[in-house]
């Protein structure tokens, strides 16, 4: 087992977050890559930076690690400003996308590297290397070279290599990219359990929402250099703060509406409360909609296409005013109740579970 950091106990008592990203901004030439990014990460928390490529998530990670200097704002670890601290003295450990294992060193020497650089040698170094390798179940692989390991094993070496220096924050840059799809999901679960078991604080970068949902305590959705929403996975999914977040995570249906007097009419005749007024757009998840016979409601359409995905049936419905929607229902019988081309009426199951955003 890894040793808990000696300072951990005192840290819990104080309310200072382990990592505080305060209004960090970064520019490359004329392009703003990061704009006023703020995020607090608590002890033992796994936070994912999620977004499409070019959204600034990797840049933010590199600012935390110190490979880049932020132009504005600050990065604090245990309350201490990391600005003046050079890369090689920041208490962070980075697991790179390519793993960046030193190809000319054995696994044991890779893992011992950080200790050697700090002048820790001999019995203590051996003990800590053995401990780190045991943590990732690679105790028998110390004499191998990285090229002799599988992708999953290489990833574990990369993790052991940073664990050995007992970092306050673990930074992982798309660590599953180099793995094949099958191995990926089992490694995700395994890695989350390992981080939780060691009580580490971790920041995770990915563009894969399934990976983010599996790994994280909280997800920070990034868009064009800004953090749009940072919340636990189910909150992000159920109550997306912006239309962008709703669109990015999961499948979503949008349509336009007009709000007045604190409510907005829904097309099936129900109403939903809102603080917005004027033109808005309403979002409903596919499983918050259901279909019925055309006579059962005033919101009409017809099925364009449907398919069965395991226990779910997914309908693509075009409404009478030309909006395309997805509806997902649990499958009861062998056949779908509505065939392609069938006329249907649509109903919203829970109006409060619809989101209302100002029109874009």
């Amino acid at each position: 087992m890894m040793h808990q950091h000696p300072r951990t106990a005192s840290k819990v008592a104080s309310s200072v977050p382990v990592l505080r990203i305060g209004a960090v901004g970064k520019q490359f030439g004329a392009t703003k890559v990061l704009e006023k990014c703020s995020l607090d990460v608590d002890e033992g928390e796994i936070v994912t930076l999620l977004g499409p490529s070019g959204c600034g998530k990797t840049t933010l990670l590199r600012c935390i690690a110190g490979f880049l200097d932020a132009d504005q704002g600050d990065v604090r670890i245990d309350g201490q400003d990391m600005g003046p601290i050079p890369v090689n003295r920041r208490p962070v450990g980075v697991v790179f996308q390519s793993y960046a294992l030193f190809p000319h060193m054995t696994v044991a020497r890779n893992v011992a590297y950080a200790l050697k650089m700090q002048g820790i040698r001999g019995a203590e170094a051996d003990r800590r290397v053995a401990g780190a390798l045991a943590t990732v179940s690679l105790q028998d692989f110390g004499d191998r070279y990285p090229s002799q390991l599988s992708g999953g094993q290489q990833q574990r070496v990369a993790i052991a290599r940073v664990l050995v220096m007992e970092p306050r924050v673990l930074l992982l840059d798309e660590p599953f990219n180099a793995l094949d799809a099958k191995l990926r999901s089992s490694m995700q679960v395994e890695l989350r359990q390992l981080i939780k078991r060691l009580g580490l604080t971790a920041i995770f970068v990915t563009h894969d929402q399934e990976e983010a949902l599996t790994m994280s305590d909280r997800i920070a959705i990034m868009r064009a250099g800004r953090i749009e929403q940072a919340a636990p996975p189910d909150e992000i999914f159920d109550y997306p703060a912006t239309a962008y977040v709703a669109d990015f995570i999961g499948t979503s249906n949008f349509w336009k509406a007009s709000a007045a007097g604190g409510t907005v009419p829904l097309p099936d005749g129900q109403r939903r409360q809102t603080e917005h007024s004027g033109d808005v757009q309403i979002m409903a998840r596919p499983h918050n909609l259901k279909l019925a016979e055309p006579e059962a409601g005033e919101w009409r359409g017809h099925v364009q296409f449907h398919r069965t995905i395991g226990a779910l049936i997914e309908y693509h419905v075009e409404t009478s005013d030309g909006v395309l929607l997805q509806v997902a229902t649990m499958r009861q019988e062998r056949a779908a109740p509505f065939d392609d081309g069938a006329a249907v009426s649509l109903h919203i199951i829970d109006p409060t579970y619809c989101a209302v955003y100002p029109a874009s």
């Binding site: 300072r7 208490p91 650089m117």
Partner: protein, 310 residues
């Protein structure tokens, strides 16, 4: 409490290490500064001086310049001297012919490399690189042995009874040309091989699948794709063969004058510095003009590589 999270700087590091850290950490130009200084002193400044010498009248005494005045005389003298014209023309002809022949003989080797298996490729690489590691004089000497009065060619022909008297091959234009081509062949072949080994072998398969014969594939796929290699090889062979003096000196006999042997005589034997400077400058400028021409032609035939990074 707060600063405890940051690992302590390891003490006991030397001043030199700290200095190197400082020079490296800024990712600045510092590591290159020694090289820049040496290049300035040993290349840039000498070129400027060469230029100034070509455009001035100087009086040299005991290896030192006594007086120097601006003058275009040497340049105009050179440009009106028929000896210069014939010499540079001869050099240019020789170099261009050499370049062309190197391409004609070298390209098939590159094609063998393209279609050959692993061991063929290795053999070709070894046979091409090995000569580059041997001195040019040694390789030229080999041709003295082959083409000389009692050399391989004449002995063989005489033993076969085809000729009575040894043929005079040495000290002719042909001897120089043969030597030039053979010596510069590796320089042409290597860039061709480099470009061939980057080819996607599936292109050749696709071409065959689309009904092209092997010759048609060579003409329509392999050749156009290897133009960058042809350009690089031609530029290298031309520069080297235009400015060499070993081959003309040894295979052409003492009286075969090309630009390089002329400069050598002006500088080393007759100590005419201004003339030597002017000749060097003309050599450099004409060489540059041909290189630009080669680059333009190459660019014209490689338009498909442009705009990929846009």
């Amino acid at each position: 409490m707060t600063d405890a999270a940051v690992p302590q700087q390891i003490s006991g590091r030397g001043l030199g290490e700290r200095l190197i850290d400082a020079l490296l950490s800024g990712r600045g130009i510092w590591p290159a500064v020694p090289a820049i200084i040496v290049l300035m002193v040993v290349a840039v400044v000498p070129f400027v001086i060469l230029l100034s010498l070509g455009f001035s009248n100087i009086v040299v005494s005991r290896g030192e310049i006594v007086s120097q005045t601006f003058s275009l005389a040497h340049l105009t003298n050179a440009l009106t001297d028929p000896l210069y014209w014939t010499t540079f023309q001869r050099s240019l002809n020789l170099a261009l012919t050499t370049t062309l022949l190197c391409l004609v003989f070298g390209y098939p080797v590159a094609y063998l490399f393209l279609v050959g298996g692993k061991w063929t490729k290795r053999a070709i690489l070894i046979l091409t690189i090995a000569p580059l590691l041997t001195s040019g004089i040694v390789r030229t000497y080999a041709w003295l042995v082959i083409l000389g009065g009692r050399g391989v060619v004449n002995s063989t022909l005489m033993n076969l009874g085809l000729i009575d008297q040894p043929l005079r091959i040495m000290n002719t234009h042909w001897a120089v040309l043969i030597g030039m081509v053979q010596i510069h062949l590796p320089v042409m072949i290597l860039p061709l091989i480099a470009v061939m080994s980057r080819h996607d072998s599936r292109l050749v398969e696709a071409s065959a699948n689309l009904g092209a014969s092997r010759l048609a594939t060579l003409r329509t796929i392999v050749l156009p794709l290897s133009v960058p290699g042809i350009g690089t090889g031609a530029a290298l062979v031309f520069t080297l063969s235009y400015t060499t003096f070993v081959v003309p000196q040894l295979l052409g006999g003492g009286n075969y004058l090309n630009a390089a042997t002329m400069i050598y005589e002006q500088v080393v034997f007759s100590l005419e510095w201004s003339k030597g400077s002017v000749s060097s400058l003309i050599l450099m400028v004409t060489c540059l003009i041909v290189l630009v021409a080669i680059a333009l032609v190459t660019n014209h035939f490689t338009r498909w590589t442009k705009g990929r990074d846009a």
